[in-house]
């Protein structure tokens, strides 16, 4: 059941330059799954649309959701979010999207891959899969490897950095080849070039890859058809080759989408 609710900010801190880590107390936590997202509304009413932000972690005991997001700078909605303090009210629309099919990882060798601001949703996924042998492959720009300590609790962590300061130099694909890693199933979230490389890799290795996509959104609930991705087959809802990222996704089997 989707709802618009008022959440209360529990804590917020900057965990890397421009990367903010926010815990929100909200009833939405009880029905959230890894790979789903919430729409976060600004208090500035000149900005209308909810900002889609992925769920980084779910705490069912505290009824809380953790959102890790990038502050896009002066004048943006995420800049406003970064100023929120403990006790502040935050309007959320959620829980949105389908989430990662984590049950498909059972008994499999998995890659859990995140790049840049696509790293956060991989955390709850790793926690849910709960496999100490899960291969968590995360890519960053530089040595500000946010969430690294969290990941180390839930699997084997392989890091790639663009500047080579930590782990493999390059991107997550370099980390795979440098460490000669193998898998039966892939889960990934990150920038489009990374997802394209993963789609290609998965096709070559004949393994399923579940990738989480991003697009500009308006309604977030599947009504406006603003956020679509081209699909290989005519999909059940649109009857054209366009699936709704907010509702049919954001997670798709890589082989089913044209990116």
């Amino acid at each position: 059941m989707k709802k618009k609710v008022v959440a209360r900010l529990i804590s917020q801190c900057e965990i890397a330059p421009g990367i903010f880590d926010m815990w929100l107390e909200t009833e939405l936590a009880s029905c959230a799954k890894p790979g789903q997202f919430v729409g976060v509304f600004t208090k500035d009413k000149s900005k209308l649309l909810p900002r889609p932000i992925s769920i980084c972690e779910i705490d069912n005991e505290k009824n809380a959701l953790r959102l890790v997001y990038r502050n896009n700078g002066e004048g943006t909605g995420t800049n406003e979010f970064s100023t929120y303090e403990k006790g502040d009210k935050v309007e959320l629309l959620g829980v949105l999207g389908n989430g990662f099919p984590f049950e498909k990882a059972e008994g499999k060798k998995v890659f859990l891959m995140g790049g840049g601001i696509g790293v956060p949703p991989i955390l709850q996924l790793a926690k849910q899969i709960g496999d100490p042998d899960a291969q968590i492959i995360v890519g960053y720009r530089d040595s500000k490897t946010f969430l690294r300590e969290d990941f180390e609790k839930y699997g084997r962590v392989y890091i790639a950095t663009e500047d080579g300061s930590v782990g493999s130099k390059g991107n997550v694909m370099n980390a795979i080849s440098d460490n000669d890693l193998k898998c039966d199933v892939i889960y990934a979230c990150g920038p489009m070039p990374m997802l394209r490389a993963i789609k290609k890799f998965a096709e070559e290795k004949c393994v399923p890859a579940y990738i989480s996509l991003e697009e500009h959104m308006a309604c977030g609930v599947g009504a406006c058809l603003g956020c679509v991705v081209k699909t290989k087959e005519v999909d059940h809802h649109s009857h054209v080759n366009n699936a709704r990222i907010c509702t049919d996704g954001p997670v798709f089997l890589a082989s089913e989408v044209e990116i």
Binding site: K3, K4, F41, S46, L48, L49, A218, V221, C227
Partner: protein, 301 residues
């Protein structure tokens, strides 16, 4: 207290409707809103065959509003009748179907397929979408073209016809008069206003389509002015829309001359907004001793 309003012989339980394209066919928003509480659901534009729509990005935010260039993606009238209209049959609300096309023949084909559906109360003809290359707005920016398509649709339509007007014209009253003269039973206004946004860091258009239709609270004063002008220019009833965010906005449109109102972009901001507007209008009527909501139509002095 009487909330009912009548357009072209069709009576609605209240004047609050959904603006085409922002509400699908109500399926998605039925999780938030009791559709039975609405005056009508106005469905997303439907064409004779499935339309894929435009490339992404299709939406972007602007100050106090948004731009969209969806390009009327829809599954075509056959799927629409089987799935969407069937879904809406379970609700006690009127259904207005928005019809789009590239040629007059396309529109007529949809209108004819819907003609024996008694679960469709009215047809809203989209001659004002700014985001498709052929059809739509091409019929809505020249009085002669608007006149022709209106009279052609009137020949085939069994339900009363609402022509939806574009604000992207020099004089909207000229278009309103043309539609009325050609037999339109009612008018909807305004559709979105053509706009543009540029990402200065990437030197690229924010939308793949370059231009998009602007909606949201920032366009409301333009829409209110146009409803007022058209109300004074024609005798047929008006469904007013453009940035309605609350009951006060809805009442403003009615005082300007609208017999009913549609809520669009604000559904994205508050998925409960349509129901809240119905309640808000009731409160306003009670507080101001208004017996019939129709008493306020065009009452501004």
């Amino acid at each position: 207290m009487n909330m009912t309003t009548t357009l072209a012989g069709v009576t609605f339980k209240n004047p609050v409707m959904t603006a085409s394209g922002t509400f699908g066919s109500g399926m998605e928003y039925s999780e938030f809103v009791d559709l039975n509480k609405l005056g009508a659901v106005v469905t997303k534009g439907v064409s004779n065959v499935p339309w894929p729509g435009n490339p992404t990005p299709r939406v972007t935010e602007v100050y106090g509003g948004m731009l969209n260039a969806i390009g009327l993606q829809n599954p075509g009238v056959d799927v629409f009748m089987e799935r969407d209209l069937k879904f809406l049959q379970d609700f006690d609300t009127k259904v207005i179907v928005n019809v789009c096309g590239k040629t007059v023949k396309d529109y007529v084909e949809v209108v004819e397929k819907l003609s024996d559906r008694d679960d469709v109360s009215m047809l809203e003809i989209n001659v004002s979408c700014p985001n498709v290359k052929e059809g739509a707005i091409a019929f809505g920016q020249k009085a002669v073209a608007l006149c022709n398509i209106t009279s052609e649709i009137k020949k085939h339509a069994k339900q009363p016809v609402i022509m939806k007007l574009s604000p992207n014209v020099t004089d909207i009253t000229e278009m309103a008069r043309a539609a009325e003269a050609a037999g339109s039973d009612a008018l909807s206004l305004i559709n979105t206003i053509t706009g543009m946004k540029i990402d200065i860091n990437r030197r690229k258009f924010a939308l793949a389509n370059k231009t998009g239709g602007m909606s949201g609270p920032a366009i409301k004063p333009i829409a209110v002015r146009m409803v007022y002008q058209v109300h004074n220019a024609v005798k047929i009833p008006i469904i007013g829309m453009g940035g309605i965010a609350n009951a006060e906005d809805a009442i403003e449109f009615m005082m300007a001359g609208a017999s009913a109102v549609s809520v669009g972009a604000m559904n994205f901001v508050d998925p409960y907004v349509t129901e809240k507007i119905v309640t808000g209008i009731e409160d306003f009527m009670a507080k101001n001793n208004i017996e019939n909501i129709t008493d306020i139509i065009g009452c501004v002095e």
